[in-house]
Each structure stands twice: as structure tokens, then as C-alpha cells.
Symmetry: C2
């Protein structure tokens, strides 16, 4: 299997599902639906949905049952980007080469589009047409797990500490805490949700969780590294901004070379956690490689 082909196919699958599941732009109030779609369809890599799909298929899951949940992950990720970009947070004017939501639609509508995407994620996961066939108990566990990963024990908690650490000297432990919560938690839950929906047992779930924890942290470390030495034409956003803002990042705290070593080790160990799996888990292995080599 060619991984690039696999990735493109899954991204297309996710994009088509998102297009089908989100309200059309024309629907009243149109500005809200436009703003939601503007950020959802802005060239994202769909890493979290693809991880969910790959985990679902690694444990033997079949068909499209995983798709609404994969899409819910992307809606939550997108909402977090919209709110993170706001003037009161990172104050970013560009993302993926295009004006950020608040630059495009104004701050009020950007906040509301984020709120709407977060809420819609939960609406999507609990639509009767999707829960049928999966088992109500599994769906409830999935919704609970995602809400924890997105909330105070996960993404929002991480963002709060990130916000408060700006311009301060932070310890390594704090940077690690920010990364595992702000970015890691949602990535871990993507893998776990996919696995749960695919019918994974506890042992399988534990192995995949180890994989996901390594991938989640490594992903944010490579993000930090790209903010130092990435190229703006690949990234579609400005580089060097973390340093200007005095952000607590891996390169800032342990230097660029040790950051690269850490990412490499984490991803190697992540792949080793998949030893109990056969070729079904090849896409998960390739995603680890993809993260190490990414330029955007």
C-alpha cells in the first residue's frame, strides 16, 4: 500500500463526510454556516479523523460507522483553532495561508462559529441514525471520552496554561503538561475512539493508547520545531511567533536538537507499541513516520 495514496483517500472520505454532515451555507443564518465551513474546509491535514479511521480499521472495524465520529474530532479541532487565533489568545491573522476566522468574519461571529462547531460535534455523535448499529453504550463512552479530552482535563486546560505561561520562564514539566493536554489529549482520544468503535478490547486499547500518547506529544514537538525552522510557504502561517511571544516550547526549553531527538524517540516507541498488530496497523505506523517528516 502506498501511504500517500491511503492518506489522500482517507482525507477525501473525511472531507466528503464533513460536507454531507454540515449544514449548507445557504441555510439561515447563512453567515454562521459560512463561517463554520470556511474554517472546516481550509486545507487541514485531517490528522485526527485519519487517526480515528486507521485505529478503527487496525482493530478490524469495517464500513463507515466511524466517519461521523472522525468528523466530530475535526469539528472540535477546528473550533479550538478559531478560538486560539482570536486577538485575546494568540492574535493570529493567518492560518494555512488564509485570513483567520475573526479577520474574515469579525470577532463576534468567529467566537460563535467556534461555539457552534463544538456543540455540533456532540450533536453529530448522538444522531440516532449513527448510533444505531454501534451500540448505545459504546457511543456514550465515546462521547464521554471526547468531552474529557476536549475540556478542562484536556484541550481547554492545556490552552489555559499555555496562555498563562506566555512571556514567563517555564519549566520543562509545564511545557510537557501543556503539550500533552492542549494537543495530545485530542490525538489520544482520536485513536481510542476509533478503536472503541471498531470493537477493541482493553488490552488492544492499552497498546493503542501508548501509541497515541507518543504520537500526540511528538506531533506538538514537531509543531514547535516547525515554528523555529519551518518555511512559511509550506506552513501557510508565520514562523518564529512562539519565540516572539515567549511561548513555552520544547526548542525554547531543551533546544532544537534535543527536541528532534525526543520526537524521534517518541515516534519509534509509538510504533513499537503496535507490535501486537499485523498489517492492519500499517497506516498507524506510516502516520508516525509522516509526523516525523512533516513540513507543514
Amino acid at each position: 500500500m502506498d501511504f500517500n495514496e491511503y492518506l489522500l483517500r482517507q482525507q477525501k472520505r473525511v472531507d466528503e463526510a464533513l460536507d454531507r454532515l454540515l449544514p449548507p451555507e445557504e441555510k439561515y443564518p447563512s453567515s454562521l454556516h459560512k463561517a463554520m465551513r470556511y474554517s472546516v474546509f481550509s486545507g487541514g491535514k485531517r490528522l485526527r479523523p485519519v487517526l480515528a479511521i486507521a485505529a478503527y480499521e487496525a482493530v478490524g472495524g469495517e464500513g463507515d460507522h466511524v466517519l461521523p465520529y472522525a468528523c466530530a474530532l475535526e469539528l472540535i479541532h477546528t473550533y479550538s483553532l478559531i478560538h486560539d487565533d482570536l486577538p485575546a489568545m494568540d492574535n493570529d491573522d493567518y492560518r494555512r495561508g488564509r485570513p483567520t476566522s475573526h479577520r474574515m468574519f469579525g470577532e463576534g461571529l468567529a467566537i460563535l462559529a467556534g461555539d457552534a462547531l463544538l456543540t455540533e460535534a456532540f450533536s453529530l455523535m448522538t444522531r440516532p441514525e449513527f448510533t444505531t448499529g454501534l451500540g448505545d453504550e459504546v457511543v456514550l463512552r465515546v462521547v464521554h471520552e471526547l468531552s474529557r479530552a476536549a475540556g478542562i482535563q484536556g484541550m481547554v486546560g492545556g490552552q489555559v496554561v499555555d496562555l498563562e505561561s506566555e512571556g514567563k520562564t517555564v519549566e520543562f514539566a509545564t511545557v510537557e503538561w501543556i503539550h500533552t493536554h492542549k494537543t495530545g489529549a485530542l490525538i489520544v482520544s482520536a485513536v481510542r475512539i476509533g478503536a472503541r468503535l471498531g470493537g477493541a478490547g482493553e488490552e488492544t486499547l492499552a497498546a493503542l493508547t501508548r501509541y497515541a500518547e507518543g504520537v500526540g506529544l511528538a506531533f506538538q514537538i514537531t509543531d514547535d520545531i516547525l515554528n523555529v525552522e519551518g518555511e512559511e510557504r509550506h506552513l501557510g502561517k508565520r514562523v518564529g511567533t512562539d519565540r516572539q511571544r515567549g511561548k513555552g516550547t520544547y526548542p525554547a526549553v531543551i533546544g532544537i536538537e534535543r527536541s528532534k531527538d525526543t520526537a524521534r524517540t517518541l515516534l519509534k516507541e509509538a510504533v513499537e507499541a503496535l507490535d501486537m498488530f499485523g498489517h492492519n496497523a500499517d497506516p498507524l505506523r506510516e502516520i508516525a513516520r509522516f509526523i516525523l517528516e512533516r513540513r507543514s
Copy 2:
């Protein structure tokens, strides 16, 4: 039964549950938990939780099973107030006589506290300890219903149209749309969720929905009226602000007397929708009266 006593007892029940269910202030990151609690415990009337409890008990529901869901309604209501008060929205400095969240904690943390409360509502509703005994299918329907009421087809949709109507001449139909979505949807879902958890059948649910639609719209109309002729010392916030901002309100569009007539008629019809119920529904009847007479 004395209604004021009933109301105080239920408010206390909700407050105690909220205190038990929200993370303690000391928990890391403390600023986030402080900001969440600051807005949740700010003297709110707990209208939505009390409606859920009253509907639950009107259909024969017993015990505390409804409480986490009643609390989830209040968390969502509180998040919406925090975001509505932001400078990019209504730009309010005071609510219930105290500085608004962004005045107290800064805009970034206020946005995140709102995000956290919304997410936590879904986390609460799906905690395994609460879903056990209610039936997974009922819980999934409740979560779905609340997500729709809070999202694009409800509260967020209403807030978007409200935001975009400011300073414009709006038709009566638009004002009604804003009210039924921005405020009405969550109130309707409070009653329906309580009824569903209490085991209501379709016919009962339909009658309670008619009740709730009347109460929900009337509540927002009385809110509009209080913004014209209420007293700041009762309200804990400035009056006359709707007019200054050119907001589409009932008094602005049909005048204050016709607004009062409409609220009175809606609440009378709401109470009539309860004809099939006995004394179990008395608190719901009293809540309608309470809304008509409220001064804050």
C-alpha cells in the same frame, strides 16, 4: 405547597449538585476552575434546572437522577452568558451586580471558561455513574436534544441573528425567531429533558413541549420589558441597553403594552397545556406565574 419554599429548596439542590460536580478551585489549572465557578455561582435563578426538575417530577420521576442533567443545562446557560457579555458581543461590564467574566479574568480566560463549561456539560451527562439506571438510549436522546438546543438550530443560531440585527430595523418575525432560538430552545429542552428522564411518553412530552414553548418565549419577552422598565437594583445590570444598542426586542417592535399582553397570553396558554396533569405539575404552573411577575 408554598412555591417560594419549593423554589428555594430546588435552587439549593441544584447549587449543591453544581458544587459537588464542578472541579474544586484549587485543582490545576486553578484560574480556569475559579473562572468557571465565579460565573456558575453568581446568584442565577436556576430557571432551567428547576424547570427540568419540575418536569421530571410532573411525569412521576423520582430521586436525583435528573440532577446532573439539570446542572448541565445551567453550565450551558452560564457559558452562553459569558460569551454573550464579551466585548465582541454585548460588551457588558456587569451581570447580576458583579463584574462580568472578562472584566474579572481577562478576555482570553473568559472565552476559555465558557468553552470549558460547554464541554463539561456534555462530560457530566455521559459520566458512567449517572447514565447507569437511566438507560443508555434515553441518555443519548437527551444529549442529542440538548446539543441541538444549544447549537446552530437553537441558542448559537439565535445569538448570531441577534448580533447581526443590532442597529438595524428588524421585522417582528425576526425578533420572534431570535427569541425562540436564543432563549426559547434551551428552556424547551430543559422541560423536555426532564420529562424524558422521568419516563414521559410521546403524548405527555407533546403537552409539556407546548407549555415550554410558551414559557420560553414569554421569559424572553419579560426580559425585554425589564430592560425597558425594570430597576437596576433588582436586575444587577444596566437597563435601557437594548434600546441604546438598537436591539430587536418585543417592546421595540410592538410596544410595551402589547408585549405585556403577549407574555400574559403565552403564559396562560402554557398553563392550559398542562390540563392533563394533576397536582404533580403545580410547580410548572407556578413557574409560569413567577415569570410573569418577575422583577429580575
